[in-house]
Symmetry: D2
Subunit: 362 residues, 4 copies
């Protein structure tokens, strides 16, 4: 941490900053410059609240050098985190995992139908919202617990692992009981109560980046999960807010290699929300794999024009089949492959034993 003093700061003000740093238990290294003095803080363990220093008289700016997160960092754990689902699929290793399914579980037939289709086309994880956070109180809010049962049944029939969103403490427990992975949506990335619940729920978590979250904030949100003892966390880039409304969001694919260099956690991309436009989903799925994403999460609906939500960005099943084919070629071009389930054979594992969290480093 570097404390930059105002060019009019008095020697007493500089001295006080040095004293406060000392009182906080860190070392202070003043650097008198041509225009102003800067004071280096040595020994930062990532837990310093800079506000205390920012508030001192004569301080112009506090610049953070150490990253404020710890356990999510590559400096904390060098090797990649690997998340293994009950059906044997591993996320975070050499294979790229394709998750697919409708925006929302709309009914038993719909989800069983699309599950069978995406499984046949190459998905290994089924997505589908039972609890839907919607911008308007008048929009369809999801089937709730009933939707979770349909998802569990789809798993029994297809062998797909299940990822679905939790929106509060109660739904986090329900999701943990029925699904293989708890999704935290973009709007809830900084819902810290939910993060703590999900961190203790005993299932892997898929954490989506908030609409205008910086990479540092995304990693700090993940730190909430790890600090509760849950090491099985995957991150997901799903587009950020932009000044241009020609796509629904701006898919920040550079986040993929960037996050992978900063953290050991797997990184996915969501080209469906990331673009909001059906015709752009497949090119951006290809691009995500080319950029190094460990997985994709894609919206597919048996009949998009009839979808109760996100119809405009949902692929038709046949389009999803093409996406899988193209992404497989891209993966091969960079020495990876798509994760696959055995052909036509559902997984035998039940939901409770479904997921093995990663080993924590000794």
């Amino acid at each position: 941490m570097l404390i930059v003093m105002d060019h009019r700061a008095t020697p007493e003000e500089i001295e006080r900053v040095v004293d406060v740093i000392g009182a906080m238990g860190y070392g202070a290294k003043p650097m008198p410059g041509r225009q102003r003095t800067a004071i280096g803080l040595v020994g930062n363990d990532g837990r310093i609240d800079s506000a205390r220093l920012e508030g001192l008289p004569g301080v112009r700016e506090v610049i953070k050098v150490s990253k404020p997160y710890k356990q999510v960092s590559r400096e904390w754990r060098e090797e990649d985190t690997l998340i293994e689902f009950g059906n044997g699929v591993k996320l975070g290793g050499p294979e790229v995992v394709v998750m697919a399914g409708p925006c929302a579980v709309e009914g038993r037939d719909q989800i069983l139908d699309i599950a069978a289709q995406v499984r046949e086309m190459g998905a290994t994880v089924l997505r589908g919202g039972a609890f839907k956070p919607r911008t308007s109180p008048y929009s369809f809010q999801g089937l709730g617990a009933k939707g979770l049962e349909h998802l569990a049944e789809a798993r029994e029939r297809t062998g797909l692992a299940i990822v679905t969103e939790a929106v509060d403490a109660e739904s986090a427990e329900q999701v943990a009981e029925h699904a293989d992975m708890i999704q935290i949506g973009a709007r809830n990335m900084q819902n810290y109560r939910l993060l703590r619940c999900a961190g203790r729920a005993g299932k892997p978590v898929l954490l989506k980046r908030g609409m205008s979250a910086t990479i540092t904030e995304l990693l700090l949100a993940a730190e909430y999960l790890l600090s509760e003892g849950n090491a099985a966390v995957a991150l997901c880039e799903r587009g950020v807010r932009s000044f241009d409304q020609s796509t629904r969001n701006l898919l920040d694919l550079t986040a993929v290699p960037l996050v992978k260099s900063l953290t050991h956690l797997p990184v996915l991309a969501d080209p469906s929300h990331g673009t909001g436009v059906r015709a752009k989903v497949t090119p951006m799925a290809r691009a995500a794999v080319a950029a190094g994403a460990d997985g994709l999460i894609v919206e597919v609906h048996p009949n998009p024009p009839e979808a109760l939500s996100d119809g405009a960005q949902s692929l038709y099943p046949a389009q999803f089949g093409e996406l899988v084919g193209q992404c497989g070629s891209i993966a091969a071009a960079i020495g990876r492959s798509l994760a696959a389930l055995p052909v036509g054979e559902p997984a035998a594992d039940g939901p409770q034993a479904a997921t093995r969290p990663p080993e924590t480093p000794a």
Copy 2:
């Protein structure tokens, strides 16, 4: 709603859109143009989910003309909503309400001290966080229920009304019990479970704009509160994300007159979070009043360099005194005045009877 067809859309595709609109119970008015056909949807009651139409073949774009919110709209209720606190202060009327206090309740002495000081300088509502949502899991997270008790004691002693943040269903109930107004923070603006809880908690709500929330999203979040039967809602501009890091956030003061033209709800500004820099708080507080804000919420700390959070943006008490004086002059210049409590005399009302919600229109 206007459905814009692709220039290559076939007559059958256009016909299908018309049919779907009819099946949804609305009128369709096709407008063949030089380049393409657009279809007007007539009779929109604000509850249409456009995704269904966006997903139809041949549709290029769906443009929303009706606003998706209802009860928060000036078209729903023409006259301003007035929120009256137990100490007689009214928010949303001609008087500008100044809310002040520390970022966090740090202890009994701290909050009683600062409460007395801001009351003497002209504040009528005390702010202070008992539950603190923090970006890092390692930062101070607030005193919780204990903090609420300190706030309640501060009210007894000073007559100030109390506003403090709730972060989940449980804390919303606790806040409703002890405070006069429940604050929903920026990070939770789209935490819909929390909105529904706060909407049913029986106390006025101060809803802060999310970090990258559009005005429409802010109003839709407020709609969640009103749709639960709570008409006593105030909105707060507190700065949005920007590409420039020279201030912590970008205070969007145009939101003040804009929101006031769209909704009947009171609008406040938070120049402390909106700038993040102590020296900019007072000029921006003046600007907010000049722009027409119904209130201010300002961070003041007895000793900012010792603050456990947000020290860099907290005013010293004497600075807050100057702010009140200057904002009083600005209010007078536009024909308003600052709300005031009787000098030196605490309010007699207890916490339960503290707040009178606005009359709902017949």
Copy 3:
């Protein structure tokens, strides 16, 4: 400048950075930390190109502490720059200068008409574009040199000073010949050839902030002007790009006190472009004055529905009269007043002698 090394940086890499800093003629002060080493660069005179250091092996980040601008800085010149126009009006002092007029000069009658009206209502500077940079090649592009003649005639008749935009070297010379102040538009803020021309043209310059320019970039653009010897530069906040389309731009009023603390140059606000909506212009003009702006630049048109450009944000003359009245009250509330011309008496000075640049510090 602080060079932050990667946590895996070798001692040799650290040594090399120290050597390169030495070879560049500056001092290097290594600070070994718990996680990584940071190296302070001492003696930075603001001319260092950080890219050279960013490119060295083992360097993770280069953090700039010194500001890269010099002559525009308050540290270079403590006292406010004062720009005096030929009609005696001073920009940058205690009086707030109101500039007003149409978006574009559309013809002789239009500009003479509106000039007389805004002068009577309290403007002291007339704005109006002769050269119009337009997003579409098919939009009205301005009257060019003819427009400048009309503006000069309006000055003769009313005593208003003239500010108008230049878009290239040729028009900068023409504008300098006919007007009192050369405007550089937002789209050209980083058109460095134009900046150099305007810096040498011998007239004060009004530099508008670019659409997504940081404050640092705005000040660096002004530095181009000052580095050519032109000390008479005023800056103008006119709204930046935002994710919310509910206003045309996001007027960043915090830029006003922020820029005033960083630089000695006068700062104006443009509430017309800053909001893009007529009904928001007056409240935001009030807010700008309350925030400390040294001037306003406002679009007024004799008949906005007939305007060839920007009709939706142009005020009717009567609305402008109200704006001046309200802003005068706000100015009084903070101890300032609006600059004024003698009632009904045009200035005698000709265009050449019209403007006195500020004294440069010895």
Copy 4:
């Protein structure tokens, strides 16, 4: 175009809008709705200035349905534009064109050295700035005309085509004389004088997207070039401004398929400026090709730590070799290939005959 009336608009105000539309020569189709009336404007030829309608009393909003650009649109010309350079390389067809070279031409030896290296590794076009627009007036500004001569010599020796930036009318002519393609930089995307000059200069133009330019604005800037008769225009995504400073810019790769669907012009990506970080250039180059880019423009320097500008984002030659290899594999995975020059054999064509512009449609 759709004119949305306020819900309090009077019948007279509606009538007036209809009349004005008629007077402008278009058809008006009023659509009375439940909340308000909207009026469709029929027959829009893309040249309407909406401001005239926005300014009418009772108008709440004007929604543009027709796109404001014409000649750049796929609706104007269905087939892809193909730009052929003097060395036989074609941009916009099935082959992906790799442009590479240093940020700036720093001297004869440097440019000849790097030209030979990138040619051997697979580049077909050489980039390198002779005129450098720099944020600070104190940074290296380029070698100017001398730099162009070095570039021309590099072409003679290697057979690479040359692309380099013009910053004003004068440099546009010089660049047109010596190079194969005139680059318009991001800061000048809306420098309309420069666009008109470049449009008339007789050479293909590479137009980079502005820092916060919408896709519509990018296409309108290209329209300036085409409206001057220059059909050989390529567009380049190079990253936009974002709230997150963890990369220099936010590379918006969705712009690639989006722009390709809206226009017939070739689209490139610049992963060097788009990320600003050397280690992210190659993954994002792969992603750009996977997303469908017609070309890449990449910064490569013989010795990045010694580069006079952009050292941190310049690749070492060996890294560029790997980039070409990986992008070739990605191109193959989607059925394309990289454009290539004959091995070891320089092109014979002189600079004047160097480039064949595309056929304009009859």
